[in-house]
Symmetry: D2
Subunit: 358 residues, 4 copies
């Protein structure tokens, strides 16, 4: 570099400038080169830590929730599973209440196990049970209360990293206490909206999905029917998306929510798409192979899949001869709505990985 060039680059720096030609390849690669890495968190390790926190850390105003976030090792200590998605384990002890608040971030709860907590969304108490998906769309007040003598744990998913990056977060405390601690079997949201294809005419046009709870019995029935009818995504692989019944679109504006079932012994074709996702094993066991590296997974395990990472899923077949088997059930959430609505979605046919151990 000539002295004249050196002076130029120094002057760039002083003026708050960076030349494109020194950063172009890093910033504009041929295909995505995410900092986030494929990563697996074992439920067997996470759950005891959440339980220990339950004994040591109070839940209440300020911290707001006893939630422990998955931090992707590629993201430098930030509590983000991927650059756009937050995933955390939340633990609520007997008789505890997580106080009401609301925020522009969209959130959901997915229940791996247990029951007995009610999430109150804009005044509507919603029971939580194994396999259920609950929404708390942006700017809905929400709280959790546990009227029972047993603790409960679940998965929290949010768009915190995305909203943080675009600086669009607004947060507001609700009242300190929770007046209504009723524990109905079915929420008002479900009673009005959980009828297939039926729209109530006496309620205002909803700004977000009015169906706050998606029950496991429906998800299970839908997946079962697809496999029975050979109407899945591919042989041995069924999948549903959780949608806003008022529009047919994604249930949350920024997060896609799906349930997948692989029949015992089924292997899905590898996929690769722009945008990131997080998977949680709901039942069964199998493997997730990420860019050629195979990860055995079992109930509760969580896997972060960065953008453009090749993913192949296989369900173990542990049935005895003649036994009907469950295969592998997975819950998935992703930032697909962000990319789709902005014209950035892209998927690719899989490429061979010489080193893949299959």
């Amino acid at each position: 570099m000539t002295p004249e060039e050196q002076r130029l680059y120094q002057d760039f720096e002083r003026a708050g400038l960076v030349p494109l030609w020194t950063v172009r390849e890093g910033l504009m690669p041929a295909t995505p080169t995410p900092r986030a890495v494929p990563h697996l968190w074992h439920w067997a390790r996470l759950h005891p830590l959440a339980a220990r926190a339950g004994g040591l850390v109070p839940v209440g105003r300020g911290g707001e929730r006893r939630a422990i976030a998955l931090a992707n090792p590629g993201l430098a200590g930030q509590p983000f599973a991927t650059p756009t998605l937050w995933a955390a384990i939340q633990y609520l002890g007997p008789r505890e209440v997580a106080p009401p608040h609301r925020h522009s971030q969209s959130a959901f709860r997915f229940v791996l196990e247990g029951e007995g907590v009610w999430t109150v969304v804009d005044g509507d108490p919603v029971a939580m049970r194994r396999g259920d998906l609950l929404l708390t769309p942006g700017m809905c007040f929400h709280a959790h209360h546990n009227p029972r003598s047993t603790p409960m744990t679940w998965l929290d998913g949010l768009d915190i990293p995305f909203v943080h990056h675009v600086d669009a977060g607004f947060f507001e405390y609700g009242p300190d206490g929770l007046d209504d601690r009723s524990t109905p079997e079915r929420s008002r949201a479900e009673r009005l909206w959980a009828h297939p294809g039926l729209r109530p005419l006496g309620v205002p046009e909803p700004a977000h999905s009015p169906l706050i709870a998606y029950r496991w019995e429906h998800t299970d029935a839908a997946l079962t029917a697809q496999l029975d009818l050979a109407a899945g995504v591919e042989p041995g692989h069924a999948a549903v998306r959780f949608t806003n019944p008022a529009t047919g679109g994604d249930a949350l504006a920024t997060i896609r929510l799906e349930a997948h079932r692989f029949a015992a012994g089924a292997r899905g074709a590898p996929t690769r798409e722009a945008g990131s996702s997080v998977w949680q094993v709901f039942a069964g066991s199998g493997t997730l192979t990420l860019d050629g590296r195979r990860h055995p997974v079992e109930r509760g395990d969580l896997v972060a899949v960065p953008s453009w990472t090749e993913l192949a899923i296989e369900a173990f077949d542990s049935r005895e001869p003649g036994e009907a088997g469950a295969g592998l059930d997975l819950f998935r959430f992703s930032d697909a709505p962000v990319l789709e609505r902005l014209g950035l979605a892209r998927a690719a046919p899989p490429s061979p990985h010489p080193g893949a151990r299959r």
Copy 2:
């Protein structure tokens, strides 16, 4: 009129011309002045006629269906309930088959009573039972077959008059016979799509509502919940719209479909809207008051409501003291999607009718 004017009007006529100023008031009235009139058809009179036709008229290729259409007295003998809507009673005897065909007209079936017929929609047999709504969207092949020893009757609704007026009708025969006479309890459409808020990912993007059947158990539950939660259209009045779960919009492109329930003794506020509709009483009894004229109605009765006609509905209260009562359940279909999609929808607050006998 001067001789010169007379010559001018004669010359208009010879040239195939009509001056606006002679027809403007009739063609462009201040508010709609429909030729169709409010009209009530009593089920008690219709049903025996359909049964007599069952004994005398065969069903088969050419005539296609043993359907008998309601002809609005204002529409000069045309078999149209309103200028846009077709309503007919269809009767299918024991062991009969109505052969497969398809057409650009959209159709539905609503079952007032009975069961035992399967409508086969694009190869998918769909059971018909009291209270169910079935769709046969435009250009889907469909047939009906009755494997039982009892006849069945139902309401057919279509957009025949509208499609006829805009000359957009296409019709095609299917194969003469019906190979698959299976009688499953649940259709493939329901098994894949009748899960609240869940969208199967392994099926192609549907061009029309993929949910072919809307079962009474769901409709009834939705209406019950609205009344229980005081979340209806107005006090004592619950209503649902049948929608396409893939879009949240109307289940058929040209026809709006709704179910309404008035609690025993409830009176709805009068309404008036541009566009026409047909109502059928599903259960209970009450009155429909049309432009101030009161019509007592009971199970099965059908009422045509022309555009801009004021309609007020009241449910009788025939309960014994202390008894829980059903009130009045109604099914409604209308051309609202046509008007809405073309910017022509309009509703008005009710005006007083001095002569109304209430």
Copy 3:
């Protein structure tokens, strides 16, 4: 027919019923069988009649406009060019005013020749000149005034027949006089909206196309560029659609508006579509062949094209050797938005017409 059958049919009639099987083939034909017929009105005959009316019939409140409608011979004397479209010649004499009114029907004006009238749309005076298209969307007040000493004639197009059929017409008189008789060169609408791709931010979201005038200079330039760039619909055939710049969709909710240019000597491929249209020759001469019957046309001539009629267009080549020639310019309006928005649009590849004289 047996006596029993006779009694049945009599009872149908008494009960206000019509059996489908007696009318099915007429109502649900294999392809559209419109009552409207292909028809040509010669401008050379229409214009003198309009001028004679100008001398004999006043314009004013009640009749509202000195407009003379084209009545399709197939439509039994109704003043409708097709079942959905109204086309009329309007004539406004020197110093005359057609008073303000508004209606739910959508309207446009297309100027074949002359200039000097201003159409005032919701208080905005819009100059009319040869080749211009002006909109008066539904429920906009509008009037016409002619400040000059020469009369002016133009084509009015509306959706009167469609709105009449669905009983959705509302009409309202404006003030009797016209206070503002200013005659600006450019309307306020154009000054705010006629900038390609630019949307003003200081005006409310428009409920209809805010661009009230589409000037011939733009239409001509667009058609010229397409032919120069070989970017037309087919070789020698350029076409533009008039759109709402706030949405990119049709300029009117119920009427599609287009301009077409065929280069001298060009022949378009035959087309056939569901829905009806009206064409007016703006410049040049050629032929329109409708279901195999050839109609020579020249400036001002109007042609009604019913649904599913095959149409082929050819431009005469009357140029002297070496001369640049204009070919054939046509204005077209159709009910395509109605059919498209309701899922009823369909087009077909042309079929051979043995009797076509080509």
Copy 4:
């Protein structure tokens, strides 16, 4: 902290976990707390640096463009004007060519001064002149060539930071050379699409805005008309959005583009919105006050406005008495489409800043 708590937090860290309660306030603030800071770059300083780079750094394959990015001081050396937006000065010397490439990032060029370069977008050469806005939507091949003997400089804007964050970037080189170096006055895109409200029918449905160039003459005329008609955003303040004429929506999927004019002496009301933007002064002078801090600006100056920063704009009045004056013209780009399409947009009425020096 007890030893038990210490062990828990250590175990969180080892397991790749971060507790929400330690980061919640930072991650989920009451209102956005952007790391990016309000910042002003003076054109008088930037332009000479770009010219110096022109003499020292070649343009060509690899670095691709001689573009120098504005690096927001709050963003730790990253070459990003805001978390979502890239802004750079590009310089192309006499006879130079910036080679063809394409990428999923959306880009535009805005020309502060000069002319003589053609940007070739998917094979269509587009002239660049003062005040023009040019688009290179995602995945369109584009190159720049300067056939003249004078250099040219302009502003490049892209969504690089956003696409980088969501890992959705794809990049592809085009051919090394540029075959077609023609220099037409008007691009093919403009000849087909730059006619107000007219849509060509012979071109395929565009996946992005087909109008690649928005010329200053139109922008200027639109702003002038708004001020003349008192139809601006507020008194003395006119504004237009650059839109996709095929949809009426934003011209680019991820970037909003606008031009603003403040009449001489006009003061805009303070505004505050979620999401970030960059402004460039196109003509005139005035002040931008950011969260109460006043920045005098003149031609070419660039200002980054982070999310939820209050912005107030004032145009100087440097006219002599009786002279007509230009006021302040600004070009603005922002990430508003990202926030709007994802339900995150929010604006607030201004709050008083006690320390504001006005």
